[in-house]
Symmetry: C2
Subunit: 224 residues, 2 copies
């Protein structure tokens, strides 16, 4: 332990109860940590982070309303390249983990860990600059050995333009293509083109495949 001042932390998570709980946990174990601010999502983070009082480590959730963890991390590494990011997520999909690691986060934890492991992770990041468990390393290696899926799926979000996203949402409903064409003020033949383009881009073969792809990648609301 070579630090003299307390480690400055920031929390980004949309669940207030989780944030408060985390604060409780962190305060309980020694007084090494100081939470300088909390944020509910990426946008909130952008407003609250300050140049002259940067946190050492940001504990970041991934799935949040508003700006999600991916965009928040992208923005952070551009704007505050010195800040260490530790992701704490409920999701353990390889895709998401690898995506985050590629963006440059210093660690990835699940929410069902022991409080002690959180402490280890924080200390490891301060001292060594990273904290990767064997499980994460395993995922990473697997993704290197099987790059296909990831390269296909790679961005998915940035692969589709505004209009295609709009079409995709309609394609996930019970509307016929003719109805979609009418709603989008386009010819059915143009809709034909959109469908074929998305089949190609997303590597699917049917409208059901399209819809399932969309839900798998969180491209459409699954509300009601």
């Amino acid at each position: 332990m070579k630090h003299t001042a307390p480690i400055k932390l920031a929390l980004v998570d949309d669940h207030k109860l989780f944030r408060k709980g985390l604060i409780g946990i962190l305060e309980m174990m020694d007084k090494e940590y100081e939470i300088i601010f909390e944020a509910e999502n990426g946008i909130d983070l952008q407003q609250k982070i300050q140049k002259d009082n940067q946190p050492d480590i940001i504990l970041m959730d991934v799935n949040m309303p508003g700006m999600d963890g991916f965009d928040a991390v992208k923005w952070l590494v551009e704007t505050y390249p010195l800040v260490n990011i530790l992701v704490i997520s409920m999701v353990e999909k390889e895709e998401q983990i690898v995506k985050m690691l590629k963006l440059g986060v210093k660690g990835y934890l699940y929410k069902d860990i022991e409080p002690n492991e959180l402490k280890n992770a924080l200390n490891s990041i301060v001292n060594k600059g990273y904290y990767y468990t064997d499980f994460i390393t395993g995922k990473l290696i697997h993704s290197i050995q099987h790059p296909s899926e990831l390269n296909e799926t790679q961005d998915a979000f940035h692969l589709l333009n505004e209009r295609e996203m709009e079409f995709l949402k309609f394609a996930c409903t019970e509307m016929t293509y003719n109805e979609i064409a009418h709603k989008m003020f386009l010819s059915p033949k143009t809709i034909d083109g959109y469908r074929n383009a998305l089949f190609e881009k997303l590597n699917v073969k049917s409208r059901v495949g399209l819809a399932m792809y969309a839900v798998k990648n969180g491209l459409v609301e699954i509300s009601n």
Copy 2:
């Protein structure tokens, strides 16, 4: 405050970090609460709860691997009818809320509440037997005024038999009906019948509607 002994609580949530955080929060505010056990899911709960040391209130998550919140609550109200259940969930879908209320839970909270509201909820349940916010009441009233969706969707799970569920899973892939028929060792015409039956039962009009219904109601895996 008329209680003399501390209120006995139990936590059921699959995220250890959240449980520990919750414990921290609860311990911080006075010593009114005593956590007698934690569980990761419904099955874990069944093993850890004891007749001679029942909790006053069980804080219950909904979406958990293993036995989920619904089945856990069903089992609880049958086996331990005196135990009060307070749901703490990230999900605010009317369907889920109403379903839980029908099962007899005494309160429903979101995870992004203030720690203070949790305390209010716990005290309210001890003193008045329930804690329903205006938002929950609103959802409930809306569900009474618009019962259609809920009655259609009501059980969904118990509405479909084994074979229909199997068909539904295939229908959510890119297989054609002919291919599904072959895979299920049935005539394409029988598959026709399955499709029509599900269209009727689930009140959808197309295969995409079927697939979207399935994902919305968690009837199919959204893995990879």
